[in-house]
Symmetry: D2
Subunit: 346 residues, 4 copies
């Protein structure tokens, strides 16, 4: 039984980790922390967990946490993660970090989009934890930077095309739509029910969202040359889910069938990527609560553009589910262990 | 491995059975039927299930179904169930029927609220499948009438009081609120998104809802004397969940603590009933996707009335989860097997 | 043209006043205040109002406000209202106060449910502003205490029965359900989108909600003897609307037709109360954005109880619309002026 | 007083016309028709209208309708409109047609996307009713083809750029998101509450939506040369609203300020187009129930692309509000008469 700690358990990704790990046959949660709710039970903060996980939330004392667990999930805001991850590593622990702190390889880029990095020397040691792309590297790592939700939906959607060099890397536009849980559980007027319900808006328009450097880093690595994207996130009145609609130009004429062949070739053996049949496109409703990434692809014959639509649950494949998938890889367990749930519908 | 069939798999309770059984370690779904979607795959009708359950939906031929399964879930509309259940029984199969057809002990009452019963001789054989009340009878049965969603939320909320005779049985009012999945998946203008979203209404006002005879039958059995209830259902703009707010008069003065003691005494060993601490009341959000029934109870000191609030997921404890719980009992498996999921939140 | 001020314009009732007054042919908003957003434009705080109402939000300086307006709406939290209303009155202004501060006739009751009253001498001067009940008194007043949202839905639903003495005043149970805008626009985790969406809960269970003394005061006056109610509020995942389901016992046998006759007799001339035909019950969706109160009533023949269902838009008939209705009465304008909008559907 | 008929009043655009016309000081609805609900009152079909519009819905007999009205709104499905519009015109009536039947100038294009046109000779007579673009032509017409909802949001967003020739017309991508009322009020499983709620999906992916020829026709006219767009519609779990996020390449370097100047120059005198300040982007929530089109625009400095975001209420500026605006123009009334409502928020 793998002993795991969830550091930062009072947020939505924290409780989602608890939910998924509770259903995992080989992992036991031995420690949960929360700065703001220390001393309460997890089930006081999330009554959904009552009688399933009534553990006490502790203050985050890294050494104590490390004593209790073999593997540590850090579900903290950026900056807070890099304050504690070095300690966990120095004590020989494996870390799956759900923050942005170790996703970027270049500390300068991190500094530009976030703030000065506190331990840039760890960046080369961190592996970007998208298993469908870097399974082997993850298996060999002790620090996995769990991808962002938007990036996951975009990178998986573009990888088959970029790897094959069949699209113009300067033509990529990602128009993404997210449920509200992506904004976290902190009290802000903008995220009140009445502000969000029955409305729809764009935000971070014009290339300012912090997921952009992460997206471009990974697409650039896949393409083997520089990729710049236009990325616009939107807020959907729903709890969970991200759907990305992605546009790009092929470098030569392609049919929908040829495109689907590329996706099927790449993803056929993957437990969590479902390439949809021709003419079928995903809905976030069909991945709700699951670790799936559903992808549909076609050509717009009138403009010649490729249109790819991908859908994930932002809290699962976009965060905690992918983190458990990475845990499985790190621990040498079957990658899909504990994650084979059918999405909850409706 | 227990072989089970889901008859009527193209409705919401059908696909919820598939979801729960997929996560069950000792049950294998060997047959799924649907009159309206026969020939399609389950995952064509519910894309959520793609790659997890791609079985072909068959026409409902009872003998063929019985050949494939040891236990059969009938997730059919009322009347359709009693057309096939006798065949399953005659072939020695165990049946958990999710329709209303075998819930009422009295064929005349059934005839009054529904239509003439086609096999009233089976009614004495059927056990009302509320495990917290009739666990032993269920274990000995071959026909379990899975309770309705509203009745489950109301009977579990009142049982501790009625068994003890501490309330006036003529004083019961159940004001219940349901998510929209209770209305099923058929195309009706009333259930269109725009008709339901951002609104709230009562329906079946004035004692006309078909769950009333079922509620009164079970409450009468618990009380040992006739119980008549005032029951008003309402429609909430949400997918899943039932919350019942129940009012009644104590026959003598009681404190909230005394009330809670009664509930805790009855439900402490129950895997799926969570009695909430004093001053805490349930939300459907905290049982979403789970087999829990959460109950809070207090006294209104100003009027002297008892107020009980209970919450379930109508598709789980109110239908398919309870059906799996009954299956576990019938099959001699641990009652909570496959059902210990943490509710999905948010 | 009547010059009016909206004091506390940065909340939901404030902007709803602005919306309704903008459509009013005889009222002009001359001053808007907000403590937290002073210096911003109203349309910065509520972009919906852009180009329709771009007035600057001012700090609340009562004398300055009074210089600009003939009638003042105080849309403030309780306590904040009673700090400024005396000044407005002393300067000869008419006040429609949307807070709870002047609704209760008895300062001791106010003190028990809220806090010590700062100007109890004004309580006899204030009129409870439910026009269907106290039209003449309102017309003669200079201080109107605009009713609470829950009380409006409950008092209008019970008035015809209590006035006629045909129900047992100790038998009243009001099970009410409200949209989320009733909770205001302040940042609280409980009101975040993800906490509310797709869930339903009771709150204030057991006779603790502050609207209870207001409900009982008015019902007692209508009945001519003491009325105690059991009241349970609930939170519905929708922006606007309150639906109250009310149960009581008739003192003698009544038919649904007799009940409807009472309601029609009382409300036939009323512009904003719609008594629904036999067998029809209201939905909040059908009053959205309007000043209507829809009421349906019947007898549950099995229990003999009367069941009344009423629906309002909590921000209109439950707050700002009723305030404008009161303004019309105070100003000697036709009572329905500016309020005859058809509800917005869907 | 202008006498108007609403043909096809039992759909969502029909009842929205009734709502808006009820608030219009110079228009009186004299006739409402509905094939499926003839003989019922409008308020039976839409209880929101009770006591405001209780007119009887009539069968559609064009000559009788024409006898009662000066101007006729045809809120019918495509094909049904072109069966009756010629009669109205031949009887000298003005027609505002909300269907697609007269939007396309080329009968062959209509035939390709819809079906053979029944009266192509009327196409040159019809004016595409986007007042901000064709105000003078509308004023001189007797047949106004009211624009589609998606096209309205896209054309208004692109007109300032295309008129000035500052973008590459082959670079346009419109990623649009619509509320569910756009799908109408017919009973379909896909539009059931549970199928839509808490989910998000694309549909009509790959250049197949019927609004495409309409969008391209108008953009081509604005640009003075052929425009082909990539257009992807999506379904948002909300009742009302369309938000379009539009991407295109400038033909030379432009700053956000230069872009905003173009939009402000074009739209400053417009009553219903609100150009938002730099860095501010629209939400459908802020135009709900109103005839506004809100537009925000910027440059993505990283990719050099222009990003335009526009928001309308699909039932108002996207249908019935624009139809009333056209009615005002046809009737020589002030264009904003009856349409100056502040959006309803929240």
């Amino acid at each position: 039984m793998l002993k795991v700690a969830v550091v930062g358990a009072s947020g939505y990704t924290g409780v989602e980790l608890i939910r998924l790990l509770h259903a995992h046959p080989e992992a036991a949660v031995t420690c949960v922390t929360s700065e703001q709710s220390a001393g309460k039970r997890l089930s006081d903060v999330f009554p959904s967990a009552r009688s399933r996980c009534d553990m006490l939330l502790e203050n985050l004392e890294p050494v104590r946490v490390a004593e209790k667990a073999d593997l540590i999930f850090t579900a903290l805001p950026h900056k807070a993660a890099m304050e504690v991850v070095p300690t966990f590593l120095s004590l020989g622990k494996q870390v799956v970090d759900l923050s942005a702190d170790y996703r970027l390889h270049d500390a300068d880029v991190y500094g530009k989009w976030y703030e000065p990095h506190m331990n840039p020397e760890l960046l080369p040691r961190a592996v970007y934890g998208l298993p469908e792309i870097r399974r082997e590297e993850i298996a060999a790592a002790d620090l996995v930077a769990n991808p962002g939700c938007y990036p996951t939906s975009i990178i998986l959607a573009l990888a088959p095309l970029l790897k094959r060099g069949v699209i113009d890397p300067s033509s990529i536009i990602a128009d993404s739509k997210s449920g509200v849980s992506g904004a976290g559980r902190s009290a802000k007027v903008d995220n009140l029910y009445c502000e969000v319900n029955d409305g729809f808006k764009a935000y971070g328009v014009g290339g300012v969202h912090r997921h952009i450097p992460e997206i471009e880093q990974e697409l650039t690595l896949l393409a083997g040359r520089g990729v710049t994207v236009t990325f616009t996130p939107h807020l959907v009145p729903m709890n969970r889910g991200i759907l990305s609609t992605i546009y790009c130009h092929p470098t030569s004429t392609l049919t929908p069938e040829q495109l689907l062949d590329m996706y099927n070739d790449d993803y056929d053996g993957e437990a969590f990527v479902r390439v949809l049949p021709k003419g079928v496109f995903p809905s976030t409703a069909f991945v709700r609560g699951s670790n799936f990434c559903d992808i549909g692809v076609t050509i717009d014959p009138r403009s010649g553009r490729i249109v790819i639509v991908s859908a994930i649950d932002n809290l699962v494949k976009g965060a905690s589910g992918q983190a458990v998938q990475n845990m499985n890889i790190l621990a040498g367990l079957p990658e899909n262990m504990g994650l084979e749930l059918i999405p909850i519908y409706p």
